[in-house]
C-alpha cells in the first residue's frame, strides 16, 4: 500500500441535472518521501485536486487515503501551503507560526515553543523579519513565512499548491532551491502542483500531467531519473533534462491542441518551429564564473 493514495476519485459541481465534472477517475499513488509534481494548465482543476488531498473537499466517488487512513477532514498532518500565502494579516510572522505550533503541539513549554518557531523561521531565512506583519513583507518573504508555518506543523505530507506561481522569476528560483534544500535535509512526502515544466523537472521525482478539464484526469507519468542534488546551472546541459522537458512540453501542447479541437473544431495551425538555445556555451560559462544566479530554467525558452 502506498503512503498516499487516491482511488478513482470524481469531483463535480452544480446540481444533478447540470453537473460539471471537474475531476474524473483520478488515480494517484505516492510513496513515502517521494516528491511528486502535478502539472497542468490553469483552470484544469489543479486546486480542486489539492483540496481533495488536503481534505478540504470530499470526492463524490472514490477515496483519498494517507497511510491507509481515509482523509475525511483537513488536519495538520496534511500540511497544505496555500497559493496566496494565507497568512493572518493581523499577526506577525512569528505569531502566525506560533498560532500553528500552539494549536498542533499544545504540550510544548514556552521556551521550547519559541525555539521551535525560531527554528522554522531560521530555516526559511526570515529571522530578521520575524516580528513583521505580512503587509510589510514582499511576496517571496510571505511565501517563505507560509512555508515555515506549514513546515512547523511537521506534516506527514507536504502539499504545495502552486506555491511559487505568484512570484517573479528570480525570487522563484531562489525559493525553489530553498524548498529543495529543506526537503533534502528533512525528507518527507511532497505533492506539488505547478504550471511550470522547468520547475517540475528540477524538483520532482515524478511528474504527472493533469489533462484539461472538464473531466480532467491524470495522464501517464514521467519519471525523472536525474541524480540529486540537481544543479540548476548545469541542468541546461543535462540531456535527460532536455529530453524530459521537450517531452512534457510537447505532451502538454498536445493536450491543449486536443482540447481546443474538442471545444472548437476550427483550430489555428501553429507554425512548425522548434525552440532552440541560441546562446553560446562560453557565454553561459561566463555567467557562472561571475557567480550570478541566472534563472537557468528561463534562459532556454
Amino acid at each position: 500500500m502506498s503512503f498516499l493514495e487516491i482511488k478513482q476519485a470524481n469531483v463535480g459541481f452544480g446540481p444533478v441535472s447540470n453537473r460539471t465534472e471537474v475531476l474524473s477517475d483520478i488515480n494517484l499513488k505516492v510513496e513515502e518521501n517521494e516528491f511528486v509534481a502535478v502539472i497542468g494548465f490553469s483552470g484544469a482543476g489543479k486546486s480542486t485536486l489539492m483540496n481533495l488531498l488536503a481534505g478540504l473537499q470530499r470526492p463524490d466517488q472514490g477515496s483519498v487515503t494517507v497511510k491507509g487512513q481515509l482523509v475525511k477532514e483537513p488536519g495538520p498532518h496534511l500540511g497544505l501551503m496555500f497559493q496566496n500565502y494565507s497568512l493572518l494579516p493581523w499577526l506577525s510572522v512569528f505569531e502566525n507560526i506560533e498560532l500553528a505550533v500552539k494549536t498542533v503541539f499544545p504540550k510544548l513549554s514556552k521556551s521550547e515553543r519559541r525555539e521551535n518557531i525560531m527554528h522554522y523561521i531560521d530555516m526559511v531565512k526570515l529571522t530578521p523579519a520575524a516580528e513583521k506583519k505580512p503587509h510589510e513583507l514582499s511576496g517571496g518573504m510571505r511565501q517563505r513565512a507560509s512555508l515555515a508555518r506549514t513546515l512547523s506543523l511537521q506534516p506527514e505530507v507536504l502539499l504545495l499548491d502552486e506555491p511559487l506561481s505568484a512570484l517573479d522569476a528570480l525570487t522563484r528560483s531562489e525559493l525553489q532551491d530553498q524548498i529543495l534544500n529543506i526537503w533534502e535535509k528533512d525528507k518527507r512526502t511532497v505533492v506539488m502542483i505547478t504550471n511550470d515544466v522547468d520547475e517540475a523537472v528540477l524538483m520532482a521525482d515524478r511528474i504527472i500531467p493533469l489533462t484539461i478539464g472538464p473531466q480532467a484526469t491524470l495522464a501517464e507519468e514521467f519519471r525523472v531519473n536525474m541524480e540529486r542534488p540537481r544543479d540548476r546551472h548545469t541542468l541546461n546541459d543535462h540531456p535527460e533534462f532536455m529530453r524530459l522537458k521537450a517531452e512534457i512540453t510537447s505532451f502538454m501542447m498536445g493536450l491543449n491542441k486536443e482540447s481546443k479541437a474538442n471545444a472548437n473544431s476550427s483550430s489555428t495551425s501553429m507554425p512548425d518551429i522548434k525552440p532552440k538555445d541560441f546562446s553560446l556555451p562560453s557565454a553561459r560559462l561566463d555567467f557562472r564564473n561571475r557567480k550570478a544566479k541566472p534563472s537557468g530554467s528561463r534562459s532556454v525558452a
Binding site: 477532514e73 500540511g79 496555500f82 494565507s86 493581523w90 498560532l99 494549536t103 498542533v104
Partner: protein, 546 residues
Amino acid sequence: MSQKGSDKFKYGLLKAIDVSGFKVFDPVVRLIFAEEPRKQIQDIAKYMLLPIIFCLVCFFMWDIIGPRHKTKSGEVPSPGKVLEAAKDATRFKQREGEKEAAFVAEGKDREALLADSKKKLTEFEEKTAELQELSAAAAKSGQNKIDASLNPIKEKYDTLKAKYKTAQTERKEAISTLADQFANKQASKDELIAAMEEDSLQKESEKEELKVLSQQLDDIRANPPKEIKEAQLAANKAADEVQHYKKVIDILTTGNREVKKNALLEKAEKAEAALTVATTGAEAQKQAKAVVSNKDKAGKADEQKFPKAATIYWQTYRSLATVFVGFLIAVLVAVPVGIMCGLNRIVMACLTPIISIFRPVSPVVWLLIFQIIVGAFFPDPDKHWLFQTMNESKLLPGFIHNLQVNPAMIFSACTVAMCALWPALVNTALGVSSIDKDHLNVAKVLRLGFWSRLFKIIIPASLPLVFAGLRISLGVGWMVLIAAEALSSSDGLGKYVWDEYQNGSSQSFANIILACFVVGIIGFFLDRIMIMLQKLVSFDDGSATA
C-alpha cells in the same frame, strides 16, 4: 546617528498624526524638520490657510448677517455674543463651585473663605457703584444723543398730529353743514356720501402717516446707543457678582453644613442639660426626645449635599455618560448578534425581517416606547434599588453620584442603544460573513476549535468592519441622544437646548448656538476617537478605513 534618531521621531510623529486623523498637520511637521520647505509651505497654504480663511469668512458673514435678522427672541446672536455666552456659562459654573465650597467648608477654612468673600464683596460693591455711576453718565450723555435724533421726529409728529386734528374738525364741520343742507334739500344724497367717503379716506392716510412716525420713535427708544447698553451691561455684571458674594457669605454664615450641624448639636446639649434638671416625667420625656432628634438631625446634616444648579458643563458630562451607556449596550448586543448572523445563514435569515422593520423607526417613537416599557420597571423611582445604588451607594465613586441617574436618563440611554444598534449589527454581520476563505481554511487545517476559531480568526479578521460599524453607531447615538434628551427632559445638552428655547430671551438664543457648537465639537472628537481605534485595528495599512 542623531540624524537617524530625529528621522525616527519624525516618522513616528507623522504616523501618530495619520492615525489620529489629523493629517492636515502633516506638512507642518515636515516643515519643522525642514523637508522640502517650498512644497510644505505650498501644502500648508492650500490645505490649512485656505480652509482657515474660508471659516473666517463664514464667521464674518455670520457676524454681519445674523444681527440684521430680528426674531421673536431678539436678533440672531453674533459670534461675539456666543463667545460671551460661553464665558458666562463658565463663570456660572465657577460660582456654583464657590457656593458648594462655601457649603461644605469647615472650621478655619470656612473662616478664611468668609474673610475672602467679604473682601471680594466690598471690592465688587465699589466696582458696581463706580460702574453704575458710569452707566448713569453714559445714559445721560446717551439720552442727549437720543433726544437729538428723537426730538425732530417728535416735533414733526406733534405738529402733524395737531394739523390733522384741526383738519379733521374742519372736515367734520363741513360734513355737518352738508348734512344740514341735505336736510333742507340744498345738497344731493351723492354729494353727502362722497364727502363722507373722502373724509374716511383722509383719516386713514393721516393715521398711517402718524403710525410710521411713531414707529420710528419707538425704534429709537428701543435701541439706545451701544455705549449705554454696554455701560449698563458692565454695571449689571458687577451687580451680579455682588449678589453672588452676598449669597456665598449667606451660605457661609447660616447655610453651611458645619454651622447647621453645630447648631443642632448645641440644641441637643441644651436639651441634655435641661434633662438633668428635669423634675417631672413629662418634661424629662420631652427633653430626651429633643436630645435624640437633634442628634439625629446633626448626623444627617453631615451627609447633606449642596443642591448645585445645572451648568452646561454638568449637562455635557451627563450627555456623554448617557451616550456612553447607550453605546455600550448597543455594542454588547450588536457585536455578538452580528457575529452569530455572520456565522450562520439561518440566524441571519431569522433576524433579517426584524432588522429591516425596526431599523427605520424614528428615535422619538423608541423613546416613547421605552418610557412605557422600561418605565414599568420603576413605578417608584426614588425607592428603586438601581437609582438608590447609583446615587447613594458608598461603593460608587463621587463622579457617578454626580450624574444623578434618573429614569429619564435610562430612557434616553435605551433610545440611543436602540438606534445605534443597527449599523454595528449590520457591519459586524457583513465583516464576519466576508472573511477571506483562505483564513477559514487555515483554521480548518489547524483544526481549531469553535472558540479559538472565533477569537483567533473570525473576530480579528472582521474587526476593521466591526469598528467601521461602531463608528457609524456612535455618530448616530450622539445625534439621537440630543433629541431624546430634549423630548424626555433628561438632563443633558438636549434638555439644555430645549430649556433655553423655552426661555426665549436673546441671551438664551446665544446659549442655544453655544450648545450647537458644544454638540458639534464633541461629536467631532468622538468620531476622531473611533477613526483612531479603527486605524489601530485595521491590519492592511488603513485600506479598511473610510
